[in-house]
Symmetry: C2
Subunit: 335 residues, 2 copies
Amino acid sequence: MRIVVLAGGIGGARFLRGLKAAAPDADITVIGNTGDDIHLFGLKVCPDLDTVMYTLGGGINEEQGWGRADETFRVKEELAAYGVGPEWFGLGDRDFATHIVRTQMLSAGYPLSAVTEALCDRWQPGVRLLPMSDDRIETHVAVDEDGERRAIHFQEYWVRLRASVPAHAVVPVGADQAEPAPGVLEAIAEADVVLFPPSNPVVSVGTILAVPGIREAIAEAGVPVIGLSPIVGDAPVRGMADKVLAAVGVESTAAAVARHYGAARPLAARDGEERAGGAGLLHGWLVDSVDAGAVQEVAAAGIRCRAVPLMMTDLDATAAMAREALALAEEVRAS
Amino acid sequence: MRIVVLAGGIGGARFLRGLKAAAPDADITVIGNTGDDIHLFGLKVCPDLDTVMYTLGGGINEEQGWGRADETFRVKEELAAYGVGPEWFGLGDRDFATHIVRTQMLSAGYPLSAVTEALCDRWQPGVRLLPMSDDRIETHVAVDEDGERRAIHFQEYWVRLRASVPAHAVVPVGADQAEPAPGVLEAIAEADVVLFPPSNPVVSVGTILAVPGIREAIAEAGVPVIGLSPIVGDAPVRGMADKVLAAVGVESTAAAVARHYGAARPLAARDGEERAGGAGLLHGWLVDSVDAGAVQEVAAAGIRCRAVPLMMTDLDATAAMAREALALAEEVRAS
């Protein structure tokens, strides 16, 4: 079975660990968000790609969810002693090495996809990890600071400001001119199922879908597209997805996020007949058990919906979520 | 008193510490060798400038003579885990921060001299540290490896090979097209004395002198130029200067190195009359007490010479050396 997963950082990475456990023989391609990428200290940092790589490769700081385990901060302390910031972004010594290798390879002319493959040679994440694009895309957030509206880098909004001020707009700068990285469209075209893990629907999955060609490829793949709600009981499971959902006019509810992705055209019937249907992406949507009340609303929007436990408390719980997603995909396929 | 010092790495840095103690009120400008500079992991590393900066700024690893005190090697270990080398160059975590800041500033368009000044803002070395040039110069060494003669970077010769094979040539690649960094020629023109510390006469002081304009400026400064022999008892005090001296056809003796620098034209007499004399650089030369037998030979070459203890065993001994050098300068001036 060939599975394509659109992944952000922590939520996507943890879900992938469960998916690998649930489908150990599957051929999994991860299309990773690069809109969070940032240049710090002259180095190219790809937080979401690294979180997936470290999590699946066994190098992640488990409590924190990002960064390396057993980390130290000598380099950062020294940079601060030079008066060089930002100090609000926590790059550890081990993590720095990844960014140094990446930056050196990029400077030598390798595209990010080739660099990511080279880094994964070490980490052996057990999935094929592709950046959504080799082109530079940076998610910017419009905020009001000191009485003026200005656009700041997503990381500045998320990490420095901790999403404490309203986001008036979220723009994946550069996305409109970007192309999917080599292999992305091919992986989608050859997939048996496409999954949206409980990643941020705006700044993670949404940014991936903003790369021209990716949304269309998913809509035309003719395979089940199943999502898992990152909103449980009207609040994000982790992170501050509600802040950026508000910026795009979407309520922080499991049903509203499903409607935001939209109902997909039903799969072609077995006799090849095309069926009319939605212009969105989702065939199926999992909400948490506490949101069972939303199932009917999602179904009414044309998206098959199940309420199951969606808290990734441990690997078993996460694997169960992945199995539910794959079961829902089979249900969609058989319907 | 304005003193200009041409410095390499460890020997130059230690001498400078003594000089500061010997002449606490002097205005010292250090022209640092950048021929040892190397790009490692995409970062610009300036070993000699950093050794001077760390030594005078109190951050040096005292036993080792280079690198930072209390150093760790997490980044390097991680780079090795990625299979990225070279492993033979020991960059510590704290040291990495310096190279990251430098590289970021260079990428932003600042010349090395401005970057060095910014780094020294933190270290407050108590001297004005100037790179010999803002242009890229790399000392290459011609060696025979696997039956073929090839040119390798000086650091590869010095650190990886530990100068264990003969050096057939030493070439400061790029020097002929380089210009002295801003302030270098001005500092020499305004100096009251120019000192050559017991640095490597070929790959440290020699490389600085290879930048067009610097040798001429020293020769025309009309002030005493005093050197201290890096060779004691026919062997380098530290390092492997004998290996590169052989490459330029100079014996590893205190007298031979003095003759290699050459006797300067005597200073103008007090009545302004120019005196005929050598086309070299040195007015005075200090040899170690064990080389007292060389004094006559050096003097015969037209260079005023004294035999004094030249082992930089501690700050007092080093300050005494600096005082001897300054005393010899006064003797030259008064003669």
